[in-house]
Amino acid sequence: MNDTQLVMYDEDFRKILAVVQRLVQDANAKGIFVVDRNGQLIAEAGEMRGIDTTSLASLTAGCIAATGGLAKIVGEEEFPVHFHQGQQDNLHMTLVAGRIILVVVFDDRSSLGLVRLRVKKAGAELAKIFEEIRKKTEQEQAGGAGTPFSEITDEDIDNLFSV
């Protein structure tokens, strides 16, 4: 069932964070979020502390999934770039490597052109990192390498529900 699960180690996270922190500066963005296509938040950077990032991640994934469905109906493989314009803040979403969504929130301190330009470069870097993660996960699963979950017992699981 979990044959394509995502396993992210601290070193992977630091690489991703470095890319998005740089992108905040380069694109003059308010906030940047890296979201798994299934709606899990992977990393965030910028000044938008305190917002509901779990909901943001889930709704982003829903939005990308819905427009992906629309794309197929009209004969496109995907609509990989989305732009939502607001009165003050704008949202730019890009599908990276078919699996990761890069969300950039920006206001009038930046521009769509600048965001597009910077996202292209950062997206390519992120694609590379996630390809490495994917390969590593595949190798570990093929090699039967243990994770903390290979050692959990039924008792551990039951204890989770005993309270």
Binding site: M1, N2, D3, T4, Q5, L6, V7, M8, Y9, D10, D12, F13, R14, D36, R37, N38, G39, Q40, I42, D52, T54, S55, S58, L59, G62, A65, A66, G68, G69, Q141, G144, G146, T147, P148, F149, S150, E151, I152, D154, D156, I157, D158, L160, F161, V163
Partner: protein
């Protein structure tokens, strides 16, 4: 598709509540939301029509506790049950780790239950998943209604393969947490086996 994050020491899993229209999927999530400690839950999102029918999905993030130093987080989703929303159901099933099939116990909804269960099998198969190999539990909801079908009859029709099953009344909460715990257990066991 679970997400294991060593950096924040978290494991995230996705559970989808499936079933025919008006069977009580959203009511299950609402009960869980209302009865969960605020520290353990996030905001519940419902993308619904003006008449409160689920349009795309409901979403509820839930933290269950720690296993071996890892926080376990479950993202609960419902699908829109109405037949014509099939495209949306397929999208929501993507990356699923566990399924709760909510059946409507009323005799007149038996055909809708069968249709929805067949639809679940089909949509899982499209993604390469087999329902019988997927962590799945079945909930017989609305057991309190006078027109509910006898339990043995529903079991025979909807659960010949003997999935874990629960009687429920989602409006009062009976059976709701038992169902959730059972599917969460199956998902974690599946994860354990995957990593062996």
């Amino acid at each position: 598709m679970s997400f294991i994050n060593y950096s924040s020491r978290e494991i995230n899993c996705k559970i989808v509540y499936y079933g025919p229209g008006l069977c009580g999927k959203t009511t299950n999530l609402q009960f869980i939301y209302n009865k969960t400690n605020p520290d353990l839950k996030g905001k519940m999102i419902s993308l619904a029509t003006e008449t409160e029918r689920t349009l795309f999905f409901d979403f509820l993030p839930l933290a269950l506790g720690q296993i071996r130093g890892f926080k376990t987080r479950f993202h609960l989703y419902t699908v829109p049950g109405q037949v014509f929303y099939d495209a949306s159901r397929k999208l929501i099933l993507k990356g699923v780790d566990g399924v709760v099939f909510v059946a409507d116990s009323q005799i007149e909804r038996m055909e809708a239950n069968i249709e929805s269960l067949d639809n679940l099998k089909l949509n899982l198969a499209e993604q390469g998943y087999d329902l019988h190999k997927t962590p799945c539990v079945i909930q017989y909801n609305k057991r309190d209604l006078p027109n509910s079908a006898p339990l043995e009859e529903i079991q025979k029709v909807l659960n010949p393969s003997d999935m874990p099953e629960f009687e429920a009344c989602a409006t009062t909460g009976e059976g709701v947490f038992e169902t959730l715990k059972a599917v969460a257990r199956l998902v974690l066991r599946d994860l354990k086996q995957m990593n062996r």
